[in-house]
Amino acid sequence: MAELFWLIPLIPGASALLLVLFGAKLSRRWVAWQACSAVFLSFLLSSAAFAHLVRLPPGAPGLTKTLFAWISSGPFTSPIAFAFDHLTAVMTLVVTGVGLLIHVYSTAYMAEDRSHARYFAHLNLFTFFMLVLVMASDLVLMFVGWEGVGLCSYLLIGFWFERPAAAKAGMKAFVVNRVGDAAFILGILFLLANVGGSSFSLINKAAGGGLLPSGLMTLVAILLFIGATGKSAQIPLYVWLPDAMEGPTPVSALIHAATMVTAGVYMVCRLSGLYAASGPASTVVAWIGAATALFAAAMALVQNDIKKVLAYSTISQIGYMFLGCGVGAYAAGMFHLVTHAFFKSLLFLAAGSVIHALAGEQDMRRMGGLRKHLPVTFPVFLVGALAISGVPFLSGFFSKDAILTGAFAGGQYALWGAGLLGAVLTAFYMFRLVYMTFYGKERTAMEPGHSIHESPRAMTIPLVILAAFSALAGYVGLPVFFGEKADLFGRYLASSVKSGSPHLAVPTEGLLVLLATASALLGIALAFVFYRRTPALPSRLASRFPGVYRLLVGKYYIDEVYDAVVVRPLVRGAEKVYERFDLKVIDGALNGSAAAAGLAGKGLNFLQSGLVRDYALAFLIGAITFLGFLLL
């Protein structure tokens, strides 16, 4: 069954095609079943391929399958070729596994929606493109998936396009991603011109073998990373992700938390040979990641929309992943990607369950006291919150610790400190969310007759499964003081990504772990003080430091700055061009040609007598002329 691994992306693709074509005619039950079973089949195939991969002797190459060459131009060919190695296996299992749970959850969450079939068609299509992205064996095909998931993201953010905000958010995501993609394409072109091919193995080999000038490598790595900042919502292109929360909540969980936004991290790990060989680029990656982690965490502190908090949290956590990759701990970055996929999709889905229970309410100021009403959602949410905060023995603790240890071991103490501070903030805003939503007085403004209810089975079962993974997924990558061989995940990935810095001595690492734990607990304690014991404290603080508060609520005014610096000059310039060129030259040419045609028509009108004989005469003259021409 492992040989059929190339069908993994194609099954959801075929299902999406069917749903796009015939979805409107099929029953809701059938649509939901088809969409879920397509992803389930992919998941089964991925598991089979993974099992095959694990049994291979170490050092053996993974599975590859070349379907056909879709671009063949001179010396350059780009095959449709899928590869399944250790890194791909991780991503594929996450995409199909978490994707499957989210599909199941969606069957209940979207059951009442008008465009049920369109939703599942797009969700399947997204799964297809995401799998193409992670299974592509060369950069060009990866870019196809990269653009495809961007398209699906646009379609699903703007899923409720009747709402202007959703349509606008979809457009914003698309346009901001274009900026990054332009850089990404440039990076691909530079590689094609200098490496002569686009397959990952070729690029990593060329970079590792010193075949490329280091300046060029840095340029390419940074260009590709700019593409990643677009897709993975990092500084400076993160602005689209908070707005993307206009989409349905399961979409936010799948695309904007678990899978698509981590594509940039995957890309950096996939090209770890290139990034490891280029010091400056790695530094840029690490610092951008750290800055984003802090910056976004600070914004999450003051958000009142439950999904916006999670969105900023996602940006921040992806920052952690890049931080890990930037300091050379690629396996740690991937590890955090996996655990984050579990606990963040859990948090989003649980938030969706809350929103569902409150009939669409997303403002945390109108929640509170939901603990008693949501007996399943509350505990799983708590598990997710503890995991993301880095409380010991849950998955987030191990993966975040792996990143911080990697930074410390690489001698990047400043980055390590930033990560630690980010951990405090993370714990704080997560528990602020928990306290505001589940504890305290009930501030819901529900019409009487509508009672707060727990969500149906199809929603709670995926939540419970994700909670189990959020709690336990960390045990595949234990820190070094559990033994040299405890880091199963890191050893498993060793054949696909560059290994990080050497391990630290056990006492040092123990100290780091204690510090990380302390910072998580500190954050939780602060949140407890602020939002549980003395709820007046936050507003007092806000009035005490109005400048800081306004800055954070205004999201540092980045959107306004972009608007003033980029958007408005562009629009004004476009208007100038419109006035000067479009109206005068293009319209002038158009109107002129129309007028000329009209004049010519009036002039030649007499030829159209309407008499057959006259037309035949013209025909005859033409035939005679033509024959004469042939004879001469």
């Binding site: 007598s609 309407g610 057959v612």
Partner: protein, 101 residues
């Protein structure tokens, strides 16, 4: 002594030009349509004459196709003429000039 293909070809050319003349001189749709049939037949004759002179049977195949298509064309053409006559009570081409610009 069989006449040379050239003689048949000359006959075909004369017949074709006569068809053209008939088309222009006549003023009712039916006769003009007949003139078109004459031109088609002149073409057939030319095909056969050339097939003979080149020693190729393809010319005859083409002639068969021309005859088949002409039959189909005649059927449709006459149906259209009948339709025009029903609506306008005339088949005079000089009176049918709705296409005048």
């Amino acid at each position: 002594m069989i006449p040379p293909p050239a003689a048949f070809f000359i006959l075909a050319a004369v017949l074709f030009v006569l068809g053209v003349l008939a088309f222009f001189v006549k003023k009712d749709l039916l006769t003009q349509f007949m003139a078109v049939e004459v031109m088609l037949n002149a073409g057939n004759l030319a095909f056969l004459a050339l097939a003979k002179s080149l020693g190729k049977a393809e010319g005859q195949v083409i002639v068969l196709f021309v005859i088949t298509v002409a039959a189909a064309e005649a059927v449709i053409g006459l149906a259209i003429i009948v339709l025009i006559f029903r609506q306008r009570k005339t088949v005079q081409t000089d009176e049918l000039k709705d296409l005048k610009g």
